[in-house]
């Protein structure tokens, strides 16, 4: 069976669906087509899951790789190159799973311009799956930017009162980062290409094969990391997120929290760490500090929001802080935790946004004070909400705990971070998560029914039950039996960490062979220089060394 085409099918099926939608006349037919397309894509992605074999190495080539090239002149190695490995398989599945769920959640929520909405939704899905599967940096960049436009319109057209402001903010933020990253991509492609004698290459495997001088690494890392940090978002670059979430329609929020934010953390693991291991390790403490600030800061702000959706939005800032911390711990436990936590966050926060959206659909308010006592009128919805809240708060036995536990455990033993205090502070997030999430449940669901409108509220419909059930089941399955999922990602995590370690050493050795400065040659020996110390070196290196001085590691 030719799996190669399957990867591309999963990416472009939604796009085909989007094109088909444009020709359809009625809202009903559009909705059903969108649902059918996303379901079909999900089924196809199951094929990817079955076809992916974690025991087969992806050190040279991703599995089910699909390569189309030859559009550029010789010497420019830019191509369509997609594939599956342990890092993206679960993220792709999460994206395709959320596809039909989002369509179902929008069924009645979207009341106008169905054609535009569902077409953009499908286009967005193509962009996101493309981002996760691209193994060519330029292709990645194209998909990365492709996600921007549909999301901009989804917020800007179907959003709340301040949708325009939120949409622009979202785009501006992202653009600042991604354009800088484009510069980095071009530089890196040229540098690595020259060193390899091709001229220009953005093939991921070519790029991780080359060791970049320490100084160049620093600013390249900064450029890439900034783009991804905005996407995550890392404190203090997070302020676009609450606005975007609050204004976006439910479907938009689910996609945003579920998978769009993961493009940031995914990018950090896929590109920043293996491309620039020395710079990443030098910056690790700084970034981890920001991540931990984000954990606490996001939680504290979540607690004081009167708006339930904003509360969930700030909780994302807090939760993604854990993921970033895990990434920059450089231990297997923490990295595996980070990868699995990306999925977990998508499931539980996605569920929270869906549930808040269901309340909004019924009462057209997101303010918690307008609710109260809902457990009496909507018991099933309450049950799902409490389950999702507990998952999000990291209760053992549900999905959120597994990732958080592994991240914190792995960060605690990290020699790169080497800070008990930092991880202890991060761990305090488990207290705060309970504080703000239980506060929401308390205000919204418990007590007397104080508003008469709430007493007549209808409980979850069959459609809503169907879209929530898979997420609820996954919370339990991934809480009690996450190992099958961890097994999928393990080999790639190992490979990445080994690559990072090998390149880390190689870069230092390369530096010692050609010392840029007699003064600095000694302190670059064993330990990576802290970020601030390496700054002057960075500038000097960038100025004195041409890309041709890049040397292969093997």
């Amino acid at each position: 069976m030719d799996f190669a085409a399957l990867t591309s099918l999963v990416i472009f099926l939604p796009l085909l669906g989007a094109l088909a939608l444009l020709a359809l006349p009625s809202a009903e037919s559009i909705k059903w087509t969108a649902l059918g397309t996303t379901l079909l894509t999900f089924v196809a992605s199951i094929g990817l899951f079955m076809g992916y074999d974690p025991s087969v190495s992806t050190a040279e080539m991703p599995q089910m790789a699909h390569v189309v090239g030859g559009w550029f002149p010789d010497g420019v190695d830019v191509k369509y190159f997609v594939g599956i490995d342990g890092l993206n398989i679960l993220l792709v599945l999460l994206t395709t799973l959320l596809g039909p769920i989002v369509v179902l959640s929008s069924w009645y929520y979207i009341e106008r311009n169905h054609k535009g909405y569902y077409a953009l939704l499908l286009l967005l899905q193509t962009g996101v799956t493309g981002v996760f599967m691209a193994f060519d940096l330029v292709l990645f960049y194209v998909f990365f930017e492709l996600t921007l436009i549909p999301m901009y319109f989804i917020i800007g057209i179907w959003g709340g009162e301040d949708r325009i402001y939120a949409a622009i903010k979202f785009v501006l933020y992202t653009l600042v980062g991604s354009l800088l990253m484009l510069a980095g991509v071009l530089f890196l492609g040229y540098a690595a290409g020259s060193a390899q004698g091709i001229g220009f290459t953005t093939d991921w495997y070519n790029l991780i094969d080359y060791t970049i001088p320490l100084g160049t690494q620093t600013w390249l890392f900064f450029v890439f990391a900034l783009a991804f940090a905005i996407k995550v978002p890392l404190f203090p670059l997070h302020t676009w997120l609450p606005d975007a979430h609050v204004q976006a329609p439910t479907g938009g929020s689910v996609i945003l929290a579920g998978v769009l934010l993961k493009m940031g953390t995914y990018g950090l693991i896929r590109f920043c760490l293996p491309f620039f291991p020395n710079a990443a390790q030098s910056a690790a403490v700084l970034i981890a500090v920001l991540a931990v600030i984000g954990i606490i800061y996001g939680a504290l702000l979540a607690r004081v929001q009167p708006d339930a959706k904003k509360l969930v939005a700030y909780s994302s800032v807090s939760h993604l802080g854990f993921v970033v911390l895990g990434i920059f711990a450089f231990t297997t436990e923490a990295m595996q935790g980070a990868v699995i936590q990306m999925i977990n966050h998508g499931i539980s926060t996605g569920a929270l946004f869906l549930l808040v959206g269901m309340l909004y659909e019924r009462r057209h308010t997101r303010l918690m004070e307008d609710y109260g006592g809902l457990a009496s009128s909507v018991p099933v919805l309450t049950t799902f909400m409490i389950l999702s809240v507990l998952a999000s708060a990291g209760l053992p036995g549900l999905n959120g705990f597994v990732g958080e536990f592994m991240i914190l455990l792995g960060s605690f033993k990290s020699t790169v971070l080497d800070s008990t205090t930092l991880v202890a502070l991060a761990t305090s997030g488990v207290i705060l998560a309970a504080v703000y999430l239980l506060h929401m449940v308390y205000n919204t669901f418990f007590g007397e029914l104080t508003h008469t409108e709430n007493a007549e509220m209808t409980d979850m419909t069959m459609r809503e039950f169907v879209l929530m059930a898979p997420l609820a089941i996954l919370m339990l399955v991934m809480g009690f039996y996450p190992q099958p999922f961890l097994n999928q990602t393990q080999p790639t995590t190992d490979f990445l960490l080994e690559t990072i370690e090998a390149k880390h050493i190689a870069a230092i050795e390369a530096e010692q062979e050609v010392p840029v400065s007699a003064v600095h040659s000694e302190d670059t020996e064993a330990e990576p220089a802290p970020l601030f110390d390496s700054m002057p070196t960075a500038l000097r290196t960038a100025a004195s060394s041409s890309p041709a001085s890049l040397s292969p590691t093997r």
Partner: protein
């Protein structure tokens, strides 16, 4: 019979019961009112595991039975299995949890009769048992933690069971969050342990844990203890337990007296070889336990709500257990866990029976046209004379009151006496804090006998103090409630004989010590190299302990004897003045937490962080945005704006690229 199968059944039956009562009725509404079916299934789901536990106990060979089912999570050095361990310690806990658990399930079928949430209640109760079994049977810390947080969840769900009253939900939130503070410390302890020994299963931890560098080990044990203070309601985290009384009374008996709150002790006993390596932390544990016990006892003296008295008494008794742990006598702590489960479980169930009948009184009075606003069926000030109407409740309450007071030959006497003796023995061996603990324990024992007798006298003796007492009478509870009372009362009488002091029985025949103690092949370690207390002194101490209990009980009886009603309370209030008010205000610990920590964090978030987020951080961004475009409303104009921005960014980007390339070249 295959013991692995039994362990599996013991674990899975309560889970199956929870699913049966909790999930099926969600979809089949007619099941929700099938009290007989749900009550029977749920009780059987705990009673059968009890039977299996008895079998395991009877056939236990002395070698731990370890069963491992599947991998929970593994990565790098981390490898955690769903693995369970049956050994002496977990067997004792298993018998208590499933035994007392079954009795309380049975009682609940009567107590919860007619409640619209009957099904939900039993689902939570079964789920609790499942979580508790994970906690006590786990063979590694993460699975123990799964149970630990699981019981916390069930406690949350059950405290807030009657959710239409927001104060119940507030109490539930408080319990969960305060426990999370403890869990935070527990997590850190696990991280430390994993960093030090690279594994979290008990086999490795008990073998390599005691060898960890003392400074680090001190930290670890302290963190574990802080975790324990959350779950087991000790200073500084005990504040949630009195509020937790908002839950239905069987919950207070099962979770907040007999089982869950003793998990902290279980944790320390399980890891006792590590605790014993750090005597300075043991001293902290012992002293904190002693202060908590004394403090809670003084608060209990001022309480008028019958459940609040029992709640503070639980905090105090848990303090006794921590004293035992702090002086290195972990098996005594577990002994007290067992006897306490009997008499405190019984006391709480009795209070439930009392509250039930007082609710009927309230109901009858209302029917007679009385204005019952402000009437509280839990307030002892409006009780009195219940012994004539509720003989079973009265006798069982009296028996367990005498047991907790430490009256000789009842269960509480033996375990409390052993705690007193062990702390004295430690002092005698040269560690001065042993004497301190002993002294505080002795004073607390006196207070305990006093305030428990007070609660008995005010509730059951004297004249009824509710209005229209001549015509409105309370009724005894049904057999489904009184039989469980008698079972627990019986155990409160004989339960102590599993730990008959060696000095009484002669030799070293203390059974529970034999069974649990490390010198006898058990898993619970203890302090060695203690000086031998002379036999005469031992007898003297037993005598002193008995005297304290009897004197305390007698004072309590005299002070609240029939005809006196609440008079002594007023006298005490006058005599103690500000001190009494201070006790009554719970030492202002709750106020401190609310006003300093909670309000402080809220104010910081609201008045500092929130504005900062909106102005400082966002302001910079908005400023940048304002430079490149003016605010507009229409989508079309925005699009133009966007394109302008895009173009600007693109130009900037290109300039940057060119710049970098030039630098690079």
């Amino acid at each position: 019979m295959d013991s692995e199968l039994l362990v599996r059944l013991i674990l899975l039956l309560p889970l199956a019961g929870a699913l049966f009562s909790g999930v099926l009725p969600l979809f089949l509404p007619q099941l929700r009112t099938s009290e007989g079916l749900i009550g029977t299934v749920s009780t059987a789901a705990v009673a059968l595991p009890f039977a299996f536990a008895v079998y395991l106990f009877a056939t236990f060979s002395g070698d731990p039975i370890i069963t491992s089912y599947f991998t929970w999570m593994a990565a790098g050095d981390l490898s955690i299995d769903f693995a369970y361990r049956i050994d002496e310690l977990s067997l004792i806990m298993l018998l208590v949890v499933t035994g007392v658990g079954s009795v309380i399930h049975w009682y609940s079928t009567g107590y919860m009769h007619g409640d619209s949430g009957f099904w939900r209640f039993f689902a939570y109760l079964n789920l609790f048992i499942f979580a508790m079994l994970n906690l006590i049977l786990a063979n590694n810390l993460p699975v123990l933690f799964l149970g630990w947080e699981g019981v916390g969840l069930c406690s949350y769900l059950l405290i807030g069971f009657w959710y239409t009253d927001l104060s119940n939900s507030a109490a539930a939130n408080k319990a969960f969050i305060v426990n999370r503070v403890g869990d935070f410390a527990f997590l850190l302890a696990m991280f430390f342990l994993f960093r030090e020994v690279g594994a979290l299963d008990f086999g490795t931890l008990l073998a390599e844990g005691p060898g960890i560098d003392t400074t680090v080990l001190g930290f670890i044990v302290l963190l574990l203890f802080i975790g324990a203070t959350g779950k087991s309601a000790q200073l500084p985290l005990f504040v949630w337990l009195p509020d937790a009384m908002a839950g239905p009374t069987p919950v207070s008996a099962l979770i907040h007296a007999a089982t869950m709150v003793t998990s902290g002790l279980y944790l320390l006993a399980r890891l006792s070889p590590m605790v014993l390596e750090v005597p300075h932390i043991m001293m902290i544990i012992g002293i904190v336990g002693a202060i908590t016990a004394l403090m809670a006892a003084t608060i209990a003296m001022t309480q008028n709500d019958i459940k609040k008295v029992l709640a503070y008494s639980t905090v105090s008794q848990l303090g006794f257990m921590f004293m035992a742990a702090g002086v290195g006598a972990f098996f005594v702590a577990i002994f007290h866990v067992v006897t306490h489960a009997f008499f405190k479980g019984c006391l709480f169930l009795c209070s439930g029976s009392v509250i039930h009948s007082m609710e009927h009184v309230e109901h009858d009075l209302e029917a007679k046209g009385h204005n019952m606003a402000g009437f509280d069926p839990q307030d002892m000030r409006t009780m009195g004379g219940l012994k004539d109407y509720m003989p079973s409740t009265r006798w069982t309450y009296l028996i367990s009151t005498l047991a907790i007071a430490g009256i000789p030959l009842l269960a509480g006497f033996f375990s409390k006496d052993e705690i007193l003796f062990k702390s004295f023995e430690l002092g005698y061996s040269g560690a001065f804090y042993g004497y301190v603990v002993w002294g505080i324990a002795a004073v607390t024992a006196l207070l305990t006998a006093f305030y428990m007798l007070r609660s008995y006298m005010l509730t059951f003796e004297g004249e009824p103090r509710w209005p229209d007492a001549d015509t409105v009478h309370p009724h005894e509870s049904p057999a489904s409630m009184t039989i469980p009372l008698w079972i627990l009362a019986g155990l409160s009488i004989v339960g102590g004989y599993i730990g008959l002091p060696a000095v009484i029985q002669g030799g070293d025949l203390n059974w529970i010590h034999h069974f649990l103690g490390e010198p006898y092949g058990g898993p619970v370690h203890e302090l060695k190299d203690l000086a031998t207390v002379p036999l005469a002194l031992k007898w003297g101490l037993v005598g002193l302990g008995s005297l304290i209990a009897i004197v305390g009980a007698y004072i309590g009886y005299r002070a609240y004897r029939p005809g006196q009603a609440m008079a002594y309370d007023t006298a005490l209030q006058n005599r103690l003045g500000g001190l009494y008010t201070f006790w009554d205000a719970k030492y202002h610990i709750d106020d401190f937490y609310n006003e300093v920590i909670v309000d402080g964090l809220m104010d910081t978030s609201k008045k500092v962080l929130q504005p900062m987020d909106a102005t400082l951080i966002d302001g910079v961004v908005n400023g940048v945005a304002a430079l490149s475009q003016s605010v507009s409303n229409g989508v079309s104009r925005i699009q133009t704006g966007l394109i302008q921005n895009y173009a600007l960014m693109l130009v900037l980007g290109v300039v940057l690229v060119l710049g970098l390339m030039m630098v690079g070249a």
